[in-house]
Symmetry: C2
Subunit: 336 residues, 2 copies
Amino acid sequence: MSDYEIFDAGDVVLQKGATLRDAKLAYKTYGTLNAKKDNVIIQPTWYSGHHTDVEWTIGEDQALDPRQYFIIVPNMLGNGLSSSPSNTPAPYDKARFPHVTACDNVRLQHRLVTEVFGIERIKLVTGWSMGALQTFHWGCLYPDMVERIVPTCGSAKCSRHNFVFLEGVKAALTADDAWKGGWYEKPPTKGLRAMARVYAGWGFSQTFYRVEEDLKLGFSSLEDFLVAFWEGFFIHKDANNLLAMLWTWQNGDIGDNELYGGDFKKALAGIKAKAIVMPGRTDLYFPPEDSEIEVANMPNAELRVFESYYGHFASSFLNPADVAFQNEAIREILAS
Amino acid sequence: MSDYEIFDAGDVVLQKGATLRDAKLAYKTYGTLNAKKDNVIIQPTWYSGHHTDVEWTIGEDQALDPRQYFIIVPNMLGNGLSSSPSNTPAPYDKARFPHVTACDNVRLQHRLVTEVFGIERIKLVTGWSMGALQTFHWGCLYPDMVERIVPTCGSAKCSRHNFVFLEGVKAALTADDAWKGGWYEKPPTKGLRAMARVYAGWGFSQTFYRVEEDLKLGFSSLEDFLVAFWEGFFIHKDANNLLAMLWTWQNGDIGDNELYGGDFKKALAGIKAKAIVMPGRTDLYFPPEDSEIEVANMPNAELRVFESYYGHFASSFLNPADVAFQNEAIREILAS
């Protein structure tokens, strides 16, 4: 018994050349599509997250209110629910899973939205982190369809520093011999735990740790936070899935498609949607400076920064003040 | 033929209980000790660096001018020249090398300075990164001996975030099965390279990578920078040495000794030396906020920030503007 639907997309030719045969897009919807089909919100998932991980943003007390909106959460390829290294049959299984771009993801999501639901207009796309990457893609790939976007703590293109951060994450995971180049039978747990520890320093800000926010969140010590929160998250993930999505992240670039021919600024300029771009002031891998550059090149965008020491997690459920700030921005743009 | 001297310290009882028998402190001096013995500068080394790595700061065109000053560079325990896992005989060799604190290091350096040279006054202690950690220790352990300190891009205590960053570095190195808990015969090169890649994101700022400063420094691509600069540095280091110094770093705390009984602020207040504390504006693991807290608790200190996008490397030789800024501060404090 799963709590989500599958869109059977058939054979999908990917941007980098491979064909993902019998492609599956797992998704879940919340609320009801109205008769005019003009109450649609799309929320793509973040790195390794499932639709269940973003459900906290949806509710009667949240900006994404299912009484009013029809909210579609498509699971990113590689996340273990949609087609992924862990669930794709041979020969494209495991380490041989093909390279998938954010563009591939969003084009597949577009097929879901149009072929399954017959939707022609999208009121809002919003997402956190790699969800923001997909949100930007929605804006520039379907500029006449997407009315509003709110990307949070993410970017339209993987910056060089962000790329380097991910090289460290990848190197830690793959340093474990048990990874076996991706052909493991048992999970490379040492590598997964190492990856988690590398991630821990990047996820939250220096101030977060200085003021012992981890303890305030209920963890009994710093080490408990590293084990229970960080290792506890990654240890249950499939290593090849993580590496597949990491490739998607590192190669994220809204300009890298035939519409924009590699021209990043042209792609930003192509986003017609009204936008509120929301970086976190202390996000260590999506610093607000990158968002400023994006907003300066978008025709209809506002920069609105989470003034928070939660770092990349300013757009998570952890900090009530950040949650309120995000809800306010989304309510405001939906009302405009 | 070595270019440095060895101070044979005999059996040294360490702060955490072990005895480092036949302890060796490798050091090099530059310039001439004057008759009054009042022209002494000490520059401790940084994480995994040797005295040769700080020699660029010493010269007739630098603030540390050997025509005027007698400069002593003591090599940190664990760095491969002073007593280290790689050169200590059994049974305290390799993975069994004892835990050494920054306090142990500085007390040993104090013995060198007093027993070998009969020095009673120190004009200046300065150092980068873990060299700054030792510089702070000099100030609080020997407040009546040390006249001036200039710690750069470092701290008097390892912050919780810095600790987490180092957990990631350590996890990447030790994820390699070839590490064998420290009992390797061949170097765990995969782990050393992984550690280097983790470090790469932390060492320089987001802006450094955004403006492609790595290419301006002469590297042919981002990957070339990761391999040639980062892997090229760590691949030649001994893994146990790196882990020993990492322990020293993670456990650095000027308050953690019988003089101050664990009271960090009391230890800061105990530093009588005139101080210029120099963090880097974009240093990701020693952010200026930590230095501000230190300076606020020191009786005679000024905060002077490298306004640089070189991150932690603002205090390295890489950026001429930063070098000039640092020389100016050191010349100014020496003249005061």
